[in-house]
Symmetry: C2
Subunit: 337 residues, 2 copies
């Protein structure tokens, strides 16, 4: 392994001079710098990343904090992650995924004082203990998602109001008047204050009230099986429903497969419209799902940009709210007569 | 920020003594150590992780290298990742996901000399450039998957031979004699030397020959759409087939939905048996898929264990080959008369 001593020897300078060149701690003449750099190139010297981190307090590594052991790492999540990784790469940063728990204990352990330059926070809770830890440790961060208190916090998120408005408008326009929302399960302790579920339910209650529609909400975990079970309950308890909005992607797959198995034709008897979904998942059902398409590619990129702007001392990115957009498919149509 | 000088001052010792306590570089008396540690506790001193990494060459962070921008991060992948993260946590390590490309360029950049203690390599190619880079840099690593040359390499993998044997035996036992394998698309440059696809095809050719069956293999990308398209081709070109084995999970969903759409009853007219699948995906079709269940939870854990044993200087974990096991479902039955 080539070290600074070797570089100094070959360049005919002191080790301190090599250090000045590497760390910019004192000015050196252009000629000396050129000699040192040539020597490094000749010897194939690669700076020790840790030493460089100590010198500059910068590693150019950023972490996406995702509670992968508590929340499912689904195909939507993968979109956020890969678009964030791509955005980081374009700006010459490396993004890694940290599966740290929502309580912030591991986050605190891992942050230490310099392994990563900053954090993109995912799966944000309304009152998120991780935010306090990031602030205490002075770690630059941006949220994909929102806490209740947002003062001074860099964030981007789904525009849940606009998403729910467009979804209800679409179904109402087709003639549906009896809707049911299959929501998240807010009684699940892992999700009780999970922003996307709380905000979607709030928006749904507001929008159905505005349209003068009855507000029916059924809780459901985000698994195919739970979606199948809730569909049986829905048909038993709300037989007059003609359209089902589904908050979660795997639950939506369960809703369609259960209707198929029960011989309830989609979309002739029931329209199904997921509120957070990616095309790859939508293609898994028969017929393919009409969906509100999760803006994961946009938000992964924007969240990373918001963080990198902080790290580079650029103008902050103003908060960005991006709605899921209606994406055509085969599961919505006019209601049965 | 509290530093070593503050700790030394409060403890009434030199900075060098604090350093000896922290880094174990020279022995100190128990009384001095206790005074220094008390002083650190009183002041809330937290060691600089980077400095500790430099001192001990250990960060207790390990990376799972996954080419997330080239390969799909599907439901099976998520199982490998979460079980690896859990296994690491149990051993007091943190596992992060590195979306580094398959060519190894980013891997080399990121490895540097100390940010991670070791690497779990995923999506291994038969001749994988990342292996050479890990060896050159002296980075401890374990593979989930296998290169062609395995001399001295720590690895765990799916036992593709046993998996294919059990799958063919199951269908043959039901009475099927005309099978088709819907394989991966090895012409896709991202996958041309991708171990799981190559090994499954090889095993399938061997096993069908042993059973005296015709060997029919159709290439197919891992998407629902591709699975639907290949099914149309299959019915056109091999109308006498009664059973379809499918290598990839999303392609398998497409095969079943295409058969349903064409009015070809599953399993009465066609048996369908995926070779790599997780229950969550299997539950999406109607009927639910019989499958060979991917041993992701076992392999994520074993691959991490193999790496951590190296890091801890424990006895090496011998190579582990874990077969996918037959998991009952509704898509296999005796062939049509």
């Amino acid at each position: 392994m080539v070290n600074m001593r070797d570089v100094a020897h070959r360049a005919g300078v002191s080790i301190a001079t090599v250090s000045f060149v590497l760390n910019g701690t004192k000015p050196v003449t252009a000629a000396t710098r050129a000699r040192v750099e040539q020597s490094m190139a000749d010897l194939g010297y690669r700076r020790n990343v840790v030493a460089r981190a100590l010198a500059s307090r910068r590693t150019h590594i950023i972490a996406m904090a995702y509670p992968a052991l508590e929340h499912r790492f689904g195909m939507s999540t993968a979109e956020f992650f890969t678009s964030a990784a791509e955005a980081a790469r374009k700006e010459d940063y490396h993004l890694v995924l940290w599966p740290v728990g929502n309580d912030g204990v591991e986050l605190r352990e891992l942050l230490g004082q310099g392994l990563v330059d900053g954090v993109v926070l995912m799966e944000v809770q309304l009152d998120d203990p991780r935010v306090g830890i990031l602030r205490q440790t002075g770690t630059p961060f941006a949220m994909i998602g929102r806490t209740s208190e947002l003062e001074g916090l860099s964030h981007v998120d789904i525009d849940f109001d606009a998403t729910v408005e467009e979804a209800v408008k679409h179904l109402h326009g087709l003639g549906h008047r009896r809707l049911v929302l299959v929501s998240g399960d807010l009684d699940d302790p892992r999700f009780h204050a999970y922003g996307p579920w709380v905000r979607t339910e709030d928006a749904y209650r507001r929008v159905t009230a505005e349209y003068g529609l009855e507000t029916v909400v059924l809780p459901c975990s985000d698994t195919t099986r739970a979606g199948q079970d809730v569909t049986e309950r829905l048909i038993r308890e709300y037989p007059e429903a003609t359209a089902i909005l589904v908050l979660n992607e795997y639950a939506a797959l369960g809703v369609v497969s259960a209707l198929n198995r029960m011989g309830r034709a989609v979309p002739d008897e029931f329209s199904v419209l997921p509120l957070l979904m990616v095309p790859e998942t939508a293609a898994l059902t028969d017929p393919e799902l009409t969906m509100m398409r999760t803006p994961g590619p946009e938000l992964g990129q924007l969240g990373t940009e918001a963080l990198i702007r902080q790290l580079e001392g650029a103008d902050p990115l103003p908060p960005q709210m991006v709605p899921a957009k209606l994406h055509p498919g085969g599961t919505t149509a006019a209601p049965r007569a």
